[in-house]
């Protein structure tokens, strides 16, 4: 075999390999027809570039499909957000007139009331507030899940925060003759948190505690510094939560006992929202409970605020999706 043509063939092959290496998979080498090693090498290079080209084309097609699906999902998500925003506006506007007029009637601005009339209006007002709370919870769950909940962290005094929250709950506790004891450690340091959102968490926990406490019992609210966190505890002496259901209570739309819970009102969103808010702030939330003895809901908030509060909730696994994936992999 003449040396020059052999050299030419080798450099042709090097050239082809370099083209493949640079991403040009159309490189093909004309076969010599000689049944030698170099010809086998040429066949190998041709097969390699063909295979890679096919793989890449398939991958590109798959990527394109995923991209299209992502666009669709994003559109769907935007649609859902828009739907929720419009819905909340459309639901709240009529509630504004209902609540306003009921309060005017109750304040006897529009004339005197009999006891029965007052009781009836009280029921309307209470249920209007309940509906408003429900709309708020649905919106919050949706915002947490889509990563669009906004937080406004600022320096917050714990004593005031707990005190004000307990104060707003006294009326509903009083109806069941429940006493709320607040025990805030002296000199507990302030936190940089979204005060309204943390109040919302405490209100949710206190609401549940009141709901599931027998008449005439007590609820203990505690806050103290523990290592790098402030630990909050809300303890009730109610019916408690069965062990196998203690983790599930933080899931959306979960009710420990759907029949019983429906009687008490609530859609099973309050704790899911609370978890989302606490985790967004870099804290943890959990429950310890013994059936028939009562429950203690605890949550922590870090003394050193997390930098990216608004970014964090995007990582929150509100619907347990990541867990499902892990389980599938197992």
């Amino acid at each position: 075999m003449d040396k020059t043509s052999e050299k030419d063939r080798i450099s042709e092959m090097i050239d082809a390999i370099m083209r493949v290496a640079r991403g040009d998979y159309s490189a093909q080498i004309e076969r010599s027809g000689r049944d030698d090693d170099l010809d086998s090498l040429a066949v190998g290079i041709n097969m390699m570039s063909n295979d890679i080209e096919r793989d890449i084309t398939e991958r590109k097609k798959a990527e394109e499909k995923i991209r299209e699906q992502n666009i669709q999902l994003k559109k769907l998500d935007e649609l859902k957000t828009a739907f929720l925003n419009v819905t909340s506006h459309e639901l709240r506007t009529p509630m504004t007139s209902i609540k306003g007029y009921v309060q005017m009637l109750l304040n006897q601005i529009l004339g005197g009331l009999s006891d029965e009339q007052r009781q009836g209006l009280d029921v309307i007002l209470r249920n209007t507030n309940r509906l408003d709370g429900l709309i708020q919870d649905i919106l919050d769950v949706s915002r947490l899940e889509s990563g669009t909940m906004k937080f406004i962290p600022k320096k917050t005094d714990i004593d005031t925060l707990v005190g004000q929250t307990v104060e707003t709950m006294q009326a509903s506790a009083g109806r069941k003759e429940i006493t709320i004891n607040a025990d805030i450690e002296a000199d507990v340091p302030g936190l940089i948190v979204d005060e309204l959102r943390i109040k919302q968490v405490m209100t949710n926990l206190l609401n549940n505690a009141i709901k599931f406490s027998p008449d005439g019992t007590i609820i203990n609210v505690k806050a103290r510094k523990e290592k790098n966190d402030i630990l909050f505890e809300i303890q009730d002496f109610g019916r408690g939560i069965p062990k196998d259901k203690q983790d599930k209570v933080f899931e959306t739309f979960y009710q420990v006992d759907s029949g019983e819970d429906r009687k008490f009102g609530g859609a099973g969103l309050g704790l899911a929202v609370s978890k989302g808010i606490v985790v967004s702030h870099g804290g943890r939330i959990w429950v310890e409970s013994r059936e028939g003895k009562g429950s203690t809901f605890s949550f922590t908030l870090p003394l050193k605020p997390v930098k990216d509060v608004e970014g964090r909730f995007k990582a929150i696994d509100m619907f347990g999706l990541e867990k499902t994936e892990e389980e599938e992999n197992d």
């Binding site: 925003n85 909340s88 506006h89 709240r92 506007t93 009529p94 509630m95 504004t96 007139s97 209902i98 609540k99 306003g100 007029y101 309060q103 005017m104 304040n107 601005i109 209007t128 408003d132 906004k150 937080f151 406004i152 309204l196």
Partner: protein, 118 residues
């Protein structure tokens, strides 16, 4: 007498707010949207305005921008179904926004706020 102007595109809410204000002894005037408000504001010359957020026509920021050019300088209380956060914060940097009340509201919360800014 303190003058309050109620701006809301929902007739039921508008009339209700008007009644609440009248009951507290305020002199009142109503407007059904931003344009209507801007037309009436100088002639009524209110001390306080309750301004609904999210009405048809000019946006809240646009209304507040245009209010700056008016002779009348009322204190503005925003009434809104959404909690203010994020971008909406810039609304507060406009004009004389003194407060905001979330809808549906407690009558006591609203009236206390009006009294505070009276």
């Amino acid at each position: 007498m303190t003058k309050v102007m109620v701006v809301d595109d929902e007739i039921d809410v508008r009339k209700m707010l008007d009644l609440m204000m009248k009951n507290e002894g305020y002199d009142t005037e109503m407007a059904e949207d931003g344009s209507d408000f801007l037309e009436k504001v100088d002639s009524f010359n209110p001390d306080i305005v309750t301004l609904d957020v999210m009405m048809p026509g000019p946006t809240t920021v646009e209304i507040l921008e245009k209010l700056k050019k008016k002779k009348s300088k009322p204190k503005v209380m925003l009434l809104t179904v959404v909690r203010f956060d994020g971008d909406e914060k810039k609304i507060f940097e406009q004009g004389n926004v003194v407060d905001y009340i979330k809808k549906p509201f407690d009558i006591d919360v609203l009236m206390d706020a009006v009294k505070k800014h009276e």
